[in-house]
């Protein structure tokens, strides 16, 4: 009997929700758009922290001697360098105002004779780390040309061995945004959930339910279960977009990790936290008009703190500590554990415990505050 009533609740909520275009836009279209656009935007902001970035370099070869030409050729052909051609007759001092070069290398007359050194000019706002890299590269290439060495790296190969550990902490833009905006959108379920509840309360349908042999627990579950299911569908859809569609648009792939199926318990717990948040908003709001403000403000604040808009790993230490008060942080880190870090389930478990506590706290507060009539 109760199961059938719950089934009808789910059907009813689904019908109401899927007939509301704004809700579809909010819960499904918005996160897809955010995943695509934020991935593209983040590529520019921090992709060079993961992948080698090409430095935009202008070269002025005043010498034109064979060695100078060789040096110019070596610089141009290096994988880290993207040569920039500057407009004819542009004053050297104005090169960085032009905005396309990170640095300028001048090979002066007299370079062959060793009377004039190679000059490097940097854009004043150029990252200091890259300055060191460019200076080091120019030193190596100049030494190769002056000493007649074909490949300095090969010469020092026995002296210096570079070993890069596979990155497990910094997500690629797509790895960051797919779970991030899926969670973000899941928290937005609080808007239709709370509005629906308060509208039913104001319009009398909720009261009408209590004129039947329906218990308050059945009504409560009937309001929660449909949104819980929608949350899970949301996440699965975002995953499909992340794995199968977004790579074609943003040009990088989404890794699902070696323990892909850990995402199931994580999603079940995250969905409990997000529906808990929805119930809390429904309990705190007094009118349906208050619901979007409360829910959106809450979700955005939790998102900002939780490393959704600004990735956690680029946050300053103070913000990293503050992030821990946001359930979105724990949810995002749990997904990064699964997809990025191949973490053991015991590593993920504490994050799920925090999210479960958050969900229980929401349901507890809502249970004490909510007025059915």
């Amino acid at each position: 009997m109760i199961r059938r009533q719950l089934m009808e609740f789910v059907k009813k909520e689904f019908l109401i929700m899927f007939r509301d275009k704004q809700t579809i836009l909010l819960l499904f279209i918005m996160p897809v758009a955010l995943i695509v656009f934020m991935t593209l935007a983040l590529k520019g902001v921090y992709a060079d922290r993961i992948n080698e970035r090409q430095i935009h370099l202008a070269i002025e070869n005043e010498s034109k001697s064979p060695k100078a030409n060789l040096l110019e050729e070596k610089i141009k052909s290096h994988k880290l360098i993207q040569r920039i051609d500057l407009p004819q007759g542009m004053d050297r001092d104005r090169i960085f105002e032009y905005g396309k070069a990170d640095a300028l290398v001048v090979i002066p007359k007299g370079f062959d004779e060793g009377t004039q050194p190679v000059e490097i000019y940097f854009d004043p706002v150029f990252d200091p780390g890259y300055k060191i890299a460019v200076r080091s590269l120019m030193t190596s290439l100049t030494v190769e040309v002056v000493m007649g060495i074909d490949n300095l790296d090969a010469v020092v190969a026995n002296l210096i061995v570079e070993k890069t550990k596979q990155n497990r902490d910094i997500p690629s833009p797509l790895q960051q945004t797919v779970p991030a905006y899926a969670i973000f959108a899941m928290f937005f379920i609080a808007i239709p959930m709370s509005i629906g509840f308060l509208k039913e309360k104001n319009e009398g349908t909720l009261q009408r339910l209590f004129t039947y042999t329906v218990s308050a627990n059945t009504v409560a579950l009937g309001k929660i279960i449909p949104y819980y299911i929608i949350n899970i569908i949301q996440f699965l859809l975002m995953m499909l977009v992340g794995v199968y569609i977004a790579p074609y648009i943003v040009g990088s792939s989404f890794q699902t990790g070696n323990h892909f199926w850990y995402f199931i318990p994580v999603t079940l717990v995250v969905a409990a936290a997000t529906t808990g948040f929805g119930v809390l908003v429904a309990a705190l709001a007094k009118t349906p008009e208050q619901c979007p403000t409360l829910a959106a403000t809450g979700a955005i604040l939790m998102g900002v703190l939780g490393g959704i808009m600004v990735p956690y790993f680029v946050m300053p230490m103070v913000m990293k500590k503050l992030a821990m008060i946001s359930p979105i942080f724990w949810a995002h880190q749990a997904y990064l554990d699964v997809f990025l870090r191949d973490a053991a389930f015991s590593t993920i478990l504490p994050k799920l415990a925090v999210l479960t506590l958050f969900a229980l706290a929401c349901f507890f507060i809502a249970g004490r505050r909510i007025k059915w009539m």
Binding site: R4, L15, R208
Partner: protein, 247 residues
């Protein structure tokens, strides 16, 4: 036999904290008693604030925390058998606006524990009774006020209740819809259904009801047969006064 017996109901919306803070209590209903004979249409009359809607909510089990007793067809509330034998059409249109009439009936039918077959059969019947059969698959939000009011009634009739509670069933409807609603109620009453009708429209109460309870400020001020009253509107104003009730 009585279809509905209400004995000494006292109820206040104030919480215990409010009561102590205010140093007293404001009662929505005070020692309220009335009864409705089986198979009759009984009017529940009173100005705004008389306690009519509160009483309806108590009868249907929506409001708890009252003292006194409500017995429906021999079952003392709260009781599932009493709820199953009662149908209620609230004053506000309590329907899901973005569902169709049929979808609303299906949902409320399931809440009333009707089987799928019963829901399908009864839906057709109540849609025909209320003149909505042709519009059954349209969203309720597209309905006129009168159609929504009729669907509100159809939902209350779906599980074939023995006692029907109607709170202002004709508010804001056109004469055609009003006529349809009262035709339906007369037919249902003729087939044995007991109806408790709360209304402000004296002419309707006098025409369709065989007995009446007049309430004011939470108390019963008249309970008797309609035929004992010459002019109901005059009687109402004499008993409840001519002053406005905006508080």
């Amino acid at each position: 036999m009585k279809a509905l017996e209400i004995s000494a109901i006292t109820f206040s919306y104030n919480s215990p904290a409010d009561k102590s803070a205010a140093g007293g209590n404001e009662y929505a209903l005070r020692n309220f008693s009335m009864s409705v004979e089986k198979g009759k249409i009984h009017a529940l009359l009173g100005p705004n604030g008389a306690g009519k809607t509160t009483l309806m909510k108590i009868i249907t089990g929506v409001l708890r925390g009252y003292s006194g007793e409500v017995v429906i067809l021999g079952n003392k509330m709260p009781d599932n058998r009493a709820l199953v034998s009662t149908g209620c059409a609230p004053q506000t249109i309590s329907l899901y606006m973005t569902l169709t009439a049929r979808e609303n009936l299906r949902f409320f039918g399931a809440m009333a524990n009707l089987s799928d077959e019963q829901i399908a059969k009864r839906s057709e019947e109540v849609l025909a009774q209320t003149g909505l059969a042709e519009h059954a698959d349209k969203l309720v939000v597209t309905y006129s006020g009168g159609m929504q009011r009729r669907l509100n009634l159809a939902v209350a009739l779906l599980h074939a209740p023995k006692l029907l509670l109607l709170d202002e069933p004709t508010v804001g409807v056109d004469p055609q819809s009003r006529h349809n609603i009262y035709e339906t109620l007369n037919r249902l009453n003729a087939s044995g259904m007991t109806i408790l009708l709360s209304t402000h429209i004296m002419e309707e109460a006098a025409r369709f009801c065989s007995s009446a309870t007049l309430a004011d400020r939470g108390k019963v001020i008249y309970d008797g047969l309609m035929c004992e009253i010459d002019n109901l509107e005059k009687f109402f104003l004499e008993k409840t006064g001519r002053g406005l009730r905006d508080d």
